[in-house]
Symmetry: C2
């Protein structure tokens, strides 16, 4: 109990060391040969990259509720069957159906200019004639509060520099609520990214029942800074916003999954995957087509290599991570009876760049095991195991006590592309994607093969 607890809420329970297999410290030697075979096979060709490219080129971005997403899921199911995986199936999920429609933003004063923009997911539309209003630029919620009197009747623009995702995304998530509270007629954010080539980034936002709903959209970093400078020079800044965004009734969709059935304890499961949906821009190649394909290819690779572990390895393409998490919650509900036999859940949803290792949320005793498995990934530099981690899609089952892992990658440029038209497959490297496949395959295989399941936290 000397280790500091992870920040993950899922691990808030007291952790007590469980009984460990005698060979725990020998994992790194016991499974070395299999791990090396897996790594070599994953790096032998660029089949994962070819599969990802086909998925994102053929179907494009895959927002929940769209026909594109459903056709992509049909294709995934068909390919999983061709791969000869076990129990290929789809489980029904009702998903939100938000539609962007036409949209535009235009600087009116001090001079007319088109402002590249994206409505934020979940936003309402403007009236049919749009909203034309003076702009108040603020740098923070605190500044908005201090200048609330100036916000009334205006469009509030949050010009907030990206320090980290959590800090910056607060304005995307809650910006409309706070602006509406101050009497604003619409709100804009500076796109959530540390780097921009006039690239707008979308993403989820929320409303609050205590205050009216106003349209909420992102403009580019460059333009947010420009409008801020104009205001600082004392110029009158006016913007016309036009948005048709609307929410339609929930639509039918699916979690798609397949297995490599365990040879001894098929009822015990290591589940891994990513999310099939994406925002309606770019190709959703790294968020999260790459995560789905890397997990899927990891399982296919185990099958190809004849490495059928003791327990079942299940790959899931969860749906609707971006704007609802309905796939993750539906999986929890549909599999509630077997969650006690879920040995671990692994998510890849941070891009499929060069893998560094895994974040882990679970007991100290389990962490010690995972660290041993990490040693098997040192040949590809992916052996670093950090406290804390998981993923949005697996968070509902982590809350039920399932130990969770998230693939960590070199994410230096991840947010350059995230939720934008620049999330395209050409940004990814076949070798790095292969390394992600290797990392996921080795971790899943050993977790499914160990004589004893990963020790759980006490409830």
């Amino acid at each position: 109990m000397r280790r500091s607890l992870a920040s993950c809420a899922a691990v808030a329970a007291l952790l007590v060391p469980a009984a460990l297999p005698a060979q725990q410290s020998e994992i790194a030697t016991s499974y070395r040969a299999q791990a090396d075979r897996i790594i070599a096979a994953a790096l032998r060709d660029s089949s994962a990259y070819a599969r990802l490219t086909e998925l994102v080129d053929r179907f494009g971005p895959r927002l929940s509720g769209t026909d594109r997403l459903e056709r992509a899921l049909d294709w995934v199911l068909m390919q999983m069957r061709r791969d000869g995986l076990d129990s290929v199936r789809a489980e029904p999920v009702r998903v939100p159906h938000w539609v962007r429609g036409s949209e535009s933003a235009e600087l009116v004063l001090p001079y007319p200019r088109r402002l590249p923009m994206l409505s934020l997911g979940g936003s309402i539309a403007t009236p049919p004639d749009g909203i034309t209003a003076d702009v108040l630029v603020v740098s923070s919620f605190d500044e908005l509060k201090a200048r609330a009197a100036e916000a009334r009747g205006r469009i509030v623009l949050y010009d907030v520099a990206f320090e980290n995702y959590g800090q910056a995304v607060a304005y995307r998530t809650n910006g409309a609520v706070e602006a509406a509270r101050a009497g604003a007629v619409a709100s804009l954010i500076r796109s959530v990214t540390p780097y921009s080539l006039q690239t707008p980034h979308t993403g989820a936002m929320r409303y609050d029942s205590t205050v009216g709903r106003i349209p909420h959209a992102a403009i580019t970093v460059e333009d947010a800074m420009l409008l801020h400078r104009m205001q600082q020079r004392g110029e009158r800044v006016q913007v016309k916003l036009y948005m048709e965004a609307r929410s339609l009734p929930d639509a039918p969709s699916r979690n798609v999954m397949a297995e490599l059935r365990g040879r001894e304890r098929p009822g015990e499961v290591v589940v891994l995957g990513g999310h099939s949906d994406s925002w309606d821009v770019g190709q959703g190649a790294m968020d999260d087509g790459g995560g789905v394909v890397a997990a899927w290819e990891a399982v296919r690779l185990l099958k190809v290599l004849g490495l059928q572990p003791r327990r079942t390895v299940r790959v899931v393409a969860w749906v609707n991570e971006e704007n609802g998490l309905r796939g993750g919650t539906a999986y929890r509900d549909a599999h509630r009876a077997e969650l006690g036999r879920h040995v671990a859940a692994i998510e890849s949803d941070a891009g499929v760049f060069r893998p560094l290792g895994f974040g882990f949320s679970g007991s100290d005793a389990a962490l010690a095991v995972v660290e041993q498995i990490g040693k098997l990934l040192e040949p590809i530099g992916a052996g670093a195991i950090r406290r804390g981690g998981g993923g949005a899609d697996i968070s509902p089952i982590m809350e039920q006590g399932v130990p969770g892992l998230g693939l960590n990658v070199d994410g230096e440029r991840y947010f350059w592309y995230h939720h934008s038209d620049a999330d395209t497959v050409d940004k990814l490297d076949p070798r790095e994607l292969g390394e992600c496949v290797a990392a996921l395959a080795v971790m899943a295989y050993v977790l499914a093969e160990l004589p004893e399941p990963l020790p759980r936290s006490s409830p």
Copy 2:
């Protein structure tokens, strides 16, 4: 004559060493105090950055023929007068007047999707209903020749990776001519850049009287690669192109200039500058607002410091570098009588990032002098003098024998922004811009102050 000749055509003449001032080798010590004062003053504040920001924020991009450009030039003239510079004036130049108009590209097959695009400068329009045609993607002019039969009636897309600007820009410049020769109805290029976040880049193109004119535009790197992959998979790729681009009659514009009059030989001139015009996207902040402001601030700084050199230092904002070079040729014609007394011409048109030094085109003897001056810039790392260099705007007077210098900078990301909406002032650093001012001011000052003018090549 042991040195290899520079590639610059302007220096094709035989070079003969001229008489050198005895103190040539002592330049680095003789002018050290003044150089250090200039550098300290240039780095003391961010006045150059503030001036550049005001220019590009107030007037935006400044394509030849536009009212924006003329208003920007009025502002520059007014500010130069406020600076108290000598002989502030405008010299008339007729410039081409190309207008982009509305434009769009849409992928029709295999599925509909908007393709971010920019018509290339000088292109004609499509018919009013646009051009819808199947696409032939090629990787080179050679491939186009080999597949000429397939190009007839199609839109040719050149998917050419950026190795260097000269190699890639050939497809922007000559792509329409070569595609038309093969019977294509329009041509597209992959934007000329090594890096993209779905960013289209414009730039100049040409037609040829021997073949019909077809519309010519740029799509993004990502989309060029996507369409190429689709073709490689055997998919039918069809695009609808709509362009209103047209050339209007030439419009009146101006070269704008100001001086610090020489205290002993005012008829001898060191001219420096950049170009006032830009493409009609982004802010034209680094191409070339920054070059104009850096040169202008260099001259203002000499005045503020009371460093009035022996000869006249003249700053010029040449117009129409981007699509005609009319400013550079008009300057040559208007100043033909005094070109023999132009000691040197210095251009800054490669971005105002961290300066590295200068490229120089002139005699060996002159190079030796410039190298000595370079030593004065070593404290800011800007002392490297390379053979060859100059700039487009000064190329007409370099052809008349004026020694030419071009400011070299760390241009790693220059082409990420070049001719795109991402050419904005926020990409530039106040300190680095100040270093560019310092480099230009020191070089111009010493060239104007030396007892003997820079030795010329023999004609």
